[in-house]
C-alpha cells in the first residue's frame, strides 16, 4: 500500500508546488530521516527522485558561506538553498529570517525562511535548471497533437527552450515573465486539459499495474491450490493401499505396486496440463523483469515530417488528362471494383513535380559520395 502511494506521489511529482506545502514537508521529512537537522523548521521542496524522495547532497567539505562554520566545527551542519540559489546553514537561516522576510546576506534579495529548500545536486546551476524546467513544463505542456503540423510544433518547442534559457541565465527576466503570462492567458483551457490528460494517463498506468498485480496473486493462489490438491491425493492413495491390504487377500507387494502405478499416472496427467501454464507464467515473469531496463515509448504515428509540407500543392477534384481517361470512364466499373484510385495517380504526378523544390543542390562531388557511399555504379553509368 505504501509503495503504491509512493508511485502516485512520483507521478504527481510534477504538480507538487516547490517550496512549502505542509503535506510535502512531512513527506520529505519522513523519507529523509538520515539528514540531521538542528533547526525546528521543516524545509520542503527540492528535487524529488522517482520515488518521491528528496535525496540531499552532502559533503565533508561543506562550509556555510555566511558564518564560515564547517563540518568540523559543527558535525550537524546542514546547508539549504535559497530562492536566489545561495547556500547557507540552518542556524544562519534561523538567525536571519525567523523575524520575517530579510535580505540575502550575499545578494540582498529579500528572502523568506520557508522558501529555503534542501540541496540535491552538487552544482547549484543544475538545481536551478531542474526547478525552472519543472515549473515550465507544468504550464507549457502542449503535445504534438495540439499542432496542425510538425513545423508549428517545432516552433513551439523552440520558444519554450528560449524562455527556459532566459530564465536560467536571467536574461530579460521581466519580458520573459510577461511572455509566460501571455501564454498562460492564451492557453488556459488547453493547459488544463493537458494536465487532466496527464493525470488520466497516470491513472491508467496505475490501473494496469493493479490488474497485473491481481493476476500475479491469482496465479500464486492457483499454484497453492494445486499443491494442496496434490498433497490430498497422495494422502488418499496411501489410505487406499492400507484399505486394500486390509480387505483383499492378494499378494501385498502386487497391490502396492498397482496402486502406485495408478497414482503416478494421475499425477503425470495433472502435471502436463499445468506445466504449460507454469512455463507461460515463468516466461511472462522474465519478460516483466526485462521491461524495467528499457522503457516502452508511446507510439508516434509518423517519425518524419514527410507530410508536414503538404501545402505545396492542391489536389483538385478532377483532371482532364489523357493518361487516366480509361480509368475515368471505366464503363463496366471494373477499376472501381478492384479499388484503383485515379486520384493517387494525380497526387503522384503533383508530388513528383514539387518533391525537390525545397532542397539545396549538393555542394560538391565529395558530398555526393558521403551521402550515398553505396552509390550504384550500374545505375550511375546507365
Amino acid at each position: 500500500m505504501a509503495n503504491r502511494s509512493n508511485v502516485g506521489g512520483w507521478l504527481q511529482g510534477k504538480t507538487v508546488r516547490k517550496g512549502g506545502i505542509a503535506s510535502t514537508n512531512s513527506h520529505t521529512r519522513s523519507s529523509t530521516p538520515q539528514v540531521q537537522s538542528t533547526s525546528s523548521t521543516v524545509f520542503g521542496g527540492g528535487v524529488k527522485d522517482a520515488s518521491g524522495r528528496t535525496s540531499e547532497f552532502f559533503s565533508m567539505d561543506d562550509q556555510c558561506p555566511v558564518c564560515k562554520s564547517d563540518r568540523y566545527l559543527n558535525p550537524k551542519l546542514r546547508l539549504l538553498v535559497s530562492a536566489c540559489y545561495h547556500k547557507m546553514c540552518e542556524s544562519c537561516i534561523d538567525r536571519l529570517f525567523t523575524l520575517g522576510p530579510a535580505p540575502c546576506p550575499i545578494c540582498n534579495k529579500v528572502l523568506r525562511k520557508l522558501a529555503f529548500t534542501p540541496q540535491t545536486f552538487e552544482d547549484l546551476g543544475v538545481e536551478k535548471e531542474v526547478a525552472i524546467r519543472r515549473r515550465i513544463t507544468k504550464e507549457f505542456n502542449k503535445r504534438r497533437e495540439d499542432f496542425p503540423d510538425l513545423r508549428a510544433y517545432n516552433d513551439y518547442l523552440e520558444e519554450v527552450e528560449d524562455i527556459t534559457f532566459n530564465l536560467i541565465y536571467e536574461i530579460d527576466l521581466s519580458r520573459t515573465e510577461a511572455r509566460i503570462q501571455a501564454y498562460r492567458a492564451e492557453n488556459a483551457a488547453l493547459i488544463e486539459r493537458n494536465i487532466q490528460r496527464e493525470e488520466a494517463y497516470a491513472q491508467a498506468l496505475k490501473e494496469q499495474e493493479d490488474t497485473e498485480r491481481r493476476e500475479r496473486e491469482y496465479r500464486a493462489m492457483e499454484l497453492r491450490r494445486e499443491e494442496e490438491e496434490e498433497r490430498e491425493e497422495r494422502e488418499k492413495g496411501r489410505r487406499e493401499i492400507i484399505d486394500k491390504l486390509e480387505t483383499s487377500d492378494k499378494n501385498a507387494a502386487k497391490v502396492i505396486a498397482k496402486s502406485r502405478a495408478n497414482a503416478l499416472k494421475r499425477s503425470t496427467a495433472r502435471s502436463t496440463s499445468s506445466t504449460i501454464l507454469q512455463s507461460n507464467a515463468k516466461l511472462l515473469r522474465s519478460r516483466a523483469a526485462r521491461s524495467t531496463t528499457v522503457p516502452d515509448v508511446p507510439h508516434v504515428p509518423l517519425q518524419d515530417d514527410w507530410y508536414a509540407y503538404e501545402d505545396m500543392f492542391e489536389l483538385k477534384a478532377g483532371y482532364q488528362d489523357f493518361m487516366s481517361e480509361a480509368v475515368r470512364k471505366d464503363r463496366e466499373g471494373i477499376m472501381r471494383g478492384g479499388g484503383y484510385k485515379v486520384e493517387e495517380a494525380w497526387e503522384r504526378a503533383l508530388r513528383c513535380a514539387v518533391a525537390g523544390l525545397d532542397l539545396a543542390p549538393m555542394a560538391s562531388s565529395t558530398s555526393v559520395t558521403d551521402f550515398d557511399s553505396g552509390g550504384d555504379i550500374m545505375m550511375a553509368s546507365a
Binding site: 512455463s279 507530410y307 493518361m323 480509361a326 471494373i334 478492384g338
Partner: protein
C-alpha cells in the same frame, strides 16, 4: 580496364563472402561481411548466365525498388556489384523472420508485442506506399527481424510502382493466404489496399498463432474468406460482381470478429476489421492505420529490443529441396533456407508451389514493364 569495371572491382573488394546459406534456381545466398568493418551481411548471387531472356525479373525489381527505399523498417540493399557473369546483391543480414517467431511455441506474445510489430509493419509499408511502391508479397516470412528487434519488410521481388494510369497489373501476386478478394476475382487495376489486406491477415495470425485464412486453392481461398467474414453484398462492395474472374461462391453469414478473437480489445478489433474491409477503396490506408487509436491506447507498444526473439539458433543442417521459385521468394536475406524445418506445412504443398510458380511465370512474360 575501363572506369566502370574498375569501380566494380573496387566495390567487390569491399565485401567478403563466407559460407553458403541457401540456394535456389535463380540465386545462391551467402553469409558475408564488410571487409573494413566486419559487419555481417547477406550476399545474394543471381545467376545471370542461365536465362534466355536476360536477368531474372524479380532481381531487377528487387534492385530497382530497394535502391530507392531506405527506412528503418525496410531491408537495406547495401551494394550491388557484378562478378564474372553474376549479379550480386549485398543485403542487410537479419537473423529471423516473423513466421519463425509465430511458430516458436516457447514464446508468449503480449498484446503490446503485437502492437509493436504491427506499428513497425505499418511504418515500413507506409514508407513504401508514400514512395509509390506496392510490395505485393507481404506475409510473415517476408517480415524479417533484426537482432535489435526491428522488423524489416523484405523481398521486393514482386514489388511494383503504382498510380500509373493505363497499365494493367497482374493479379497473380501475393501468397494465397494473404491475397485480398479483389485479386482473387482477377482485378487488373488495384491499389495499395492489397498490401493492407495482407497486413490485416498477418495481424490476425499474430493473435491466433496460426494462419487466419488458409485456403487450399484460389477458389477455396475465397470460400475461406467469406466463411470468416461473410459474403459481400453489392452494397458492401460495389462493382465486385463485374470483376473479370467473378464467380459466386455461396452465401455465408457475417460473424462478429469477437467470436474468434475473444481476448482482443475493442481497438484491436476495430483496426483489424478496417484492414479487412471488402471494398478496397474503403479499406484503411497504411497512413491512416498509423493514426488509429489502437496504437496510441495503452499498453504502449513494446520497445523493439524487448520483443520476443526466436530461440532457434543458426544451425547447419541440410537444406530442404524446394522449388526454385519458392526459394527465390523466401531468401530475402538468405537465412531462410537454414530453418527449413520451420517451414510452413501446407495442407497441400504441391498444389501451392504449382500456383506460385505460375504466378511467377505470368510475371515474367505477360507483365508489361511499368517503366
Amino acid at each position: 580496364m575501363d572506369a566502370v569495371e574498375k569501380a566494380n572491382t573496387e566495390r567487390q573488394r569491399r565485401w567478403a563472402k563466407d559460407s553458403k546459406v541457401g540456394e535456389g534456381a535463380y540465386a545462391v545466398v551467402y553469409r558475408g561481411r564488410e571487409v573494413a568493418t566486419g559487419r555481417k551481411v547477406a550476399i545474394k548471387k543471381i545467376k545471370v548466365g542461365q536465362f534466355k531472356d536476360g536477368l531474372d525479373m524479380s532481381a531487377i525489381r528487387e534492385v530497382k525498388y530497394l535502391r530507392e527505399l531506405r527506412h528503418q523498417n525496410v531491408i537495406e540493399l547495401l551494394d550491388v556489384f557484378s562478378s564474372k557473369t553474376n549479379l550480386n546483391l549485398v543485403l542487410e543480414f537479419l537473423d529471423s523472420d516473423l513466421e519463425m517467431i509465430i511458430k516458436d511455441r516457447s514464446l508468449v506474445f503480449l498484446p503490446a508485442d503485437i502492437k509493436s510489430w504491427m506499428a513497425m509493419t505499418f511504418r515500413g509499408l507506409e514508407f513504401c506506399h508514400r514512395n509509390w511502391v506496392l510490395h505485393r508479397d507481404l506475409k510473415p516470412n517476408n517480415l524479417l527481424i533484426a537482432s535489435d528487434g526491428q522488423l524489416k519488410i523484405a523481398d521486393f521481388g514482386l514489388a511494383r510502382d503504382f498510380a500509373d494510369p493505363g497499365y494493367k497489373m497482374t493479379c497473380q501476386v501475393i501468397t494465397r493466404w494473404y491475397r485480398p478478394p479483389e485479386l482473387l476475382f482477377g482485378s487488373r487495376y488495384y491499389s495499395s489496399a492489397v498490401d493492407v489486406w495482407s497486413v490485416g491477415t498477418i495481424f490476425a495470425e499474430l493473435m491466433l498463432r496460426i494462419p487466419y485464412l488458409p485456403g487450399e486453392s484460389d477458389m477455396d481461398q475465397l470460400k475461406t474468406i467469406f466463411r470468416a467474414l461473410g459474403t459481400p453484398t453489392e452494397e458492401d462492395w460495389p462493382g465486385h460482381t463485374k470483376l473479370p474472374d467473378y464467380v459466386p461462391v455461396g452465401q455465408f453469414p457475417k460473424t462478429p470478429l469477437r467470436d474468434l478473437f475473444t481476448a482482443a480489445s475493442a481497438d484491436t478489433l476495430n483496426l483489424l476489421s478496417k484492414c479487412l474491409v471488402y471494398e478496397p477503396r474503403k479499406r484503411i490506408t497504411a497512413r491512416e492505420a498509423l493514426f488509429h487509436p489502437y496504437f496510441t491506447a495503452l499498453p504502449y507498444p513494446t520497445h523493439p529490443s524487448k520483443l520476443p526473439q526466436c530461440t532457434t539458433q543458426f544451425s547447419g543442417h541440410p537444406l530442404e529441396e524446394v522449388d526454385g521459385n519458392v526459394e527465390m521468394n523466401s531468401t530475402g536475406p538468405g537465412v531462410k533456407a537454414n530453418n527449413s524445418r520451420l517451414k510452413r506445412k501446407l495442407s497441400s504443398p504441391n498444389d501451392d508451389t504449382k500456383t506460385r510458380s505460375i504466378a511467377r511465370r505470368l510475371d515474367f512474360t505477360k507483365h508489361t514493364p511499368s517503366s
